[in-house]
């Protein structure tokens, strides 16, 4: 395979194509944060001296940058947290506990991130009830089902913007409009959305929005929850108690270097989003067309039309996902195969789409990002093709399909 060798020579291995999991910290972001470790290290709450006032000003700037990134007008609506997991918990539990006397019913979607799903499970143990909306094979919720699920006991609807496994974008403005009509709060986990698609809390009519720096080329360990202050004024019960930082919603000394970096990362991500979306979409199409040109029996999971631009989740039928990851060990991607998780269950997201377990086991998630190049995509196409072909040659399922056997009629033994 001299062609593969040529393509390999054009890239630096290993390749990173797992930008849904996390992203590389942008050098510009890193440069912005470094002084706040060694020079400007004051506690942002120490207003009595210059160290504190310097970092307080830096946090204020970051707060404005982060607010602007989601179309929020007032930066006092931003609560800094440790990341989207905390923001999800603060939003869902905070609303549930604060509005408990208004109702005990919550609505979310079966394909949400575990942080959202498990926060609901925790509330169910306290007596709250949750409706988990199903999705279609495209991964999208049905607005009529949402409408029908809202009762006079419903206090919160939580729907993510961009799904972390399949990249599908939910109809957020329609959801927001519906929630507004029915007087129900709308929370959106936008961890995978900011910098990928335009995010606008007004256009979506969202009341709370969670996001995190490490998915937008910032550092791990810092995120935010945006909480609407007017029309309606959303109130929250904090998760933990202490010095009353962040208007009492999130006590704890502010992580100034991380917050400064988050501000920088958010500003860059949103400024570059329009051009970046075009570039990533072209790369994703190159990836998909390349794979489709080389391989048959390839299935895209989730809607291609309503999808974050750098995101592609594909099932390579008859090739188990973990064995494929092993073969392409110089390319970092992830799989919905059970073998790659601790649970021995294939991806619950793919299951919710109605993807059969046999295909879920063969799925690979590609997450293209800011540092992905065309040469990397071309290498990935060639390398994945080579390994899929090799593994299909040793797949008994592939052999049966070539012999014309319908796998659904086979009497499998299971185990």
């Amino acid at each position: 395979m001299s062609q593969l060798a040529d393509l390999r020579a054009a890239v630096k291995l290993p390749l990173y194509m797992d930008n849904h999991a996390t992203t590389r910290c942008d050098p510009r972001v890193l440069a912005a944060m470094l002084p706040y470790f060694s020079e400007d290290y004051g506690n942002a709450a120490s207003r009595t001296h210059v160290f504190g006032r310097t970092t307080e000003a830096a946090v204020d700037k970051a707060r404005a940058q982060v607010a602007a990134a989601i179309g929020a007008s007032a930066d006092r609506e931003i609560v800094f947290t440790s990341g989207a997991t905390e923001s999800d918990n603060l939003a869902i539990k905070g609303v549930a506990h604060m509005y408990r006397d208004k109702g005990d019913h919550l609505i979310t979607v079966a394909t949400e991130h575990k942080a959202v799903l498990d926060a609901h499970h925790a509330l169910e143990r306290e007596g709250f009830r949750t409706t988990f909306l199903q999705v279609g094979s495209d991964g999208l919720i049905n607005l009529e089902e949402l409408r029908a699920a809202i009762t006079d006991q419903t206090i919160l609807v939580s729907v993510m913007a961009v799904n972390n496994e399949i990249g599908v974008v939910q109809p957020l403005a329609e959801i927001g409009k519906l929630c507004k009509e029915r007087g129900v709060l709308f929370f959106c986990d936008a961890a995978q959305a900011v910098g990928k698609i335009p995010v606008d809390v007004e256009a979506w009519q969202v009341d709370l929005l969670a996001f995190t720096a490490h998915k937008m080329y910032g550092p791990k360990g810092v995120g935010a929850l945006w909480v609407r202050r007017k029309a309606p004024r959303v109130r929250l019960e904090p998760l933990f108690h202490g010095g009353g930082h962040e208007r009492g919603l999130r006590s704890g000394t502010l992580a100034v270097p991380l917050i400064v970096a988050f501000g920088e990362a958010a500003e860059i991500a949103v400024r570059e989003q329009p051009q970046e979306a075009v570039r990533l979409l072209a790369l994703r199409e190159r990836l998909l067309k390349g794979l489709q040109g080389n391989l048959e029996h390839l299935y895209v999971n989730g809607s291609l039309d309503h999808r974050s631009p750098g995101s592609l989740n594909v099932s390579f039928a008859y090739v188990e996902g973990e064995s494929l990851l092993m073969g392409i060990s110089d390319i970092a991607v992830s799989s919905g195969s059970a073998c790659t998780s601790a649970s021995l269950e294939p991806s619950y997201v793919l299951k919710a789409l109605g993807v059969g377990d046999e295909l879920a086991h063969t799925s690979i998630r590609f997450g293209l990002g800011r540092f992905t190049t065309e040469a990397e995509v071309d290498y990935a196409v060639a390398r994945v093709t080579e390994v899929v072909n090799r593994l299909r040659e040793m797949s008994p399922l592939w052999e049966m399909v070539q012999e014309g056997i319908d796998l659904s009629t086979v009497n499998w033994t299971g185990h």
């Binding site: 188990e320 092993m326 021995l344 294939p346 592939w398 033994t413 185990h415």
Partner: protein, 130 residues
């Protein structure tokens, strides 16, 4: 997950990948597992008139450990009698490949595949002799 060197070796250079003619009276075929569970193994043996396994082939849909377990199984059954082959235990495979607890089911499947191939061959013989 970190793979043992032996798993990597079998994954990268699987021994005895391929197929034997299913209808050959001297060939026994075992297919175990299910696509929904994420692994299917097909193991085939060719048995000579002395009841010794002369040749073994496999094809596996499954993770690296499943591929390695079946590859190792084909190596081990070669030269063995049917009884000896059927006596191979999954724990031997676990030990040889250094499989972590979460991958033990791969070795169980390989043991099942050997036994299924042996029974298939024996059933063929029985129907021939009757």
């Amino acid at each position: 997950m970190a793979y043992s060197d032996k798993v990597l070796d079998h994954y990268n250079q699987p021994r005895n990948v391929g197929a034997l003619p299913k209808s050959d009276p001297n060939v026994g075929t075992g297919v175990v597992g299910a696509p929904e569970c994420g692994d299917v193994m097909k193991l085939q043996i060719r048995v000579n008139d002395d009841g010794v396994i002369e040749e073994a082939k496999f094809k596996t849909f499954g993770c690296g450990s499943a591929i390695a377990s079946s590859s190792l199984a084909t190596e081990w059954v070669k030269g063995k009698t049917l009884e000896e082959a059927a006596a191979i235990r999954n724990t031997d495979i676990v030990q040889e490949l250094n499989l972590p607890p979460i991958k033990i089911h791969c070795s169980v499947l390989a043991e099942d595949a050997i036994r299924a191939a042996v029974s298939d061959y024996q059933a063929k013989r029985a129907s021939r002799n009757s």
